[in-house]
Chain length 198, copies 2
DNA sequence: ATTATCTATAGATCTATAGATAATGC
DNA sequence: ATTATCTATAGATCTATAGATAATGC
């Protein structure tokens, strides 16, 4: 029985890690508190010493999910060469398709967030802007136009990943991702050219 | 108490209509059988004379959802003028954003379908191909390239709608849709030009 | 003394089934 | 006689709470 404040904080983080992974793979209603706490190595009784309600866990989990996304996403800045192309290749990979628990929260939780309150949606929007602004910066050129083109590229990426995950045959789904990688990279090159020309 | 075979078939369809609308707005686990049957004007006891299990209802509902999508989607062929532009304007409208129950099932149910079995995913794929092939036909040019470009346009449309639904402020969400409409139509014009040139 | 976690359980809800009721359809 | 639907309920699961237990931290 862990009892120190440090251990409680570790338990809290462990519950959030489990919740994020489970909510992303099974949806907000896809797991009960008993199984969730068991996966975090605890019993269900202690849950309410960590969260005011199940709903409070959902809200905190969405924040936690996007905080994780930020960490993963920030790695792309360390890539040498064409960061934008590297990002597209990674986002539209079969590895990303198959790892829903660690993958993009905008795709995994998008539909659930649509049904949620503004507290949850605000977290989504903040991350959306971060991503769009990064894409716009990579595209270069005048800010307003760059942001518009960034939205297009981002939408195409989210949409293609969403489609690939719902196609039954992994080979066919992989072919869709491959096509999307080529198409989106070509689109990015072309929009970048347009923006540089202005 | 309705008892004829015709009335049973009507009840069955009513249950499916309710299930599709509820699953799309609240997710597969967002509603129980009692509320569902009540919304269909029945009591919960009769459910199992219509479906072998809750799971069987989910599978049948996904088929029903995409059958409805087909009917709505087919209307675009009656549009005079630029059918592709009309389709993009309609898909990326605020009306579509706000009507999840009657809107695109690929977006509303995509994440849930990712988590489902191949029986459900096959229904999704069939509808995906129908949509992609229609887009490719509208783009014109060599089939293989047209299908690749169609995937890009379709991905951008699904992604933009998904983003717009998760943005809290309706005005900001509307601005995103407006940008996406312009961008995707411009992209369609350009890809069509490329294909015609080949 | 305080508190992080555990065991136990209340009360609501959910899926599924059993048997009754009131129509249809031969 | 058959059957579409209803009422009633069993059994599982889910959220939330109460009180016990065994550590920490003053």
């Amino acid at each position: 029985m862990g009892h120190s404040r440090i251990e409680k904080s570790e338990s809290h983080d462990r519950i959030l890690d489990v919740a994020v992974a489970q909510f992303k793979t099974r949806g907000f209603n896809g797991i009960g508190l008993a199984e969730l706490m068991e996966r975090a190595g605890l019993t269900h009784g202690g849950f309410y010493k960590h969260f005011a309600s199940r709903d409070a866990l959902v809200v905190e989990s969405v924040s936690h999910a996007f905080a994780q996304d930020r960490v993963i996403f920030s790695r792309v800045d360390k890539v040498a060469g064409d960061r934008l192309a590297a990002h597209i290749d990674q986002y539209l990979s079969t590895a990303h398709r198959d790892e829903m628990a660690r993958g993009c929260s905008m795709v995994a939780l998008g539909a659930e967030i649509s049904r949620s309150g503004d507290d949850v949606k605000n977290v989504y929007e903040e991350y959306f802007q971060l991503r769009r602004d990064w894409l716009a910066k990579e595209l270069g050129g005048p800010k307003v136009q760059a942001e518009r083109h960034a939205l297009t590229i981002m939408s195409a990426m989210l949409g293609a990943l969403s489609i690939a995950r719902a196609i039954p045959d992994p080979a066919q789904s992989g072919a869709i991702l491959e096509t999307a990688r080529k198409e989106v990279k070509a689109l990015a090159r072309q929009l970048r050219g347009e923006l540089r020309a202005e």
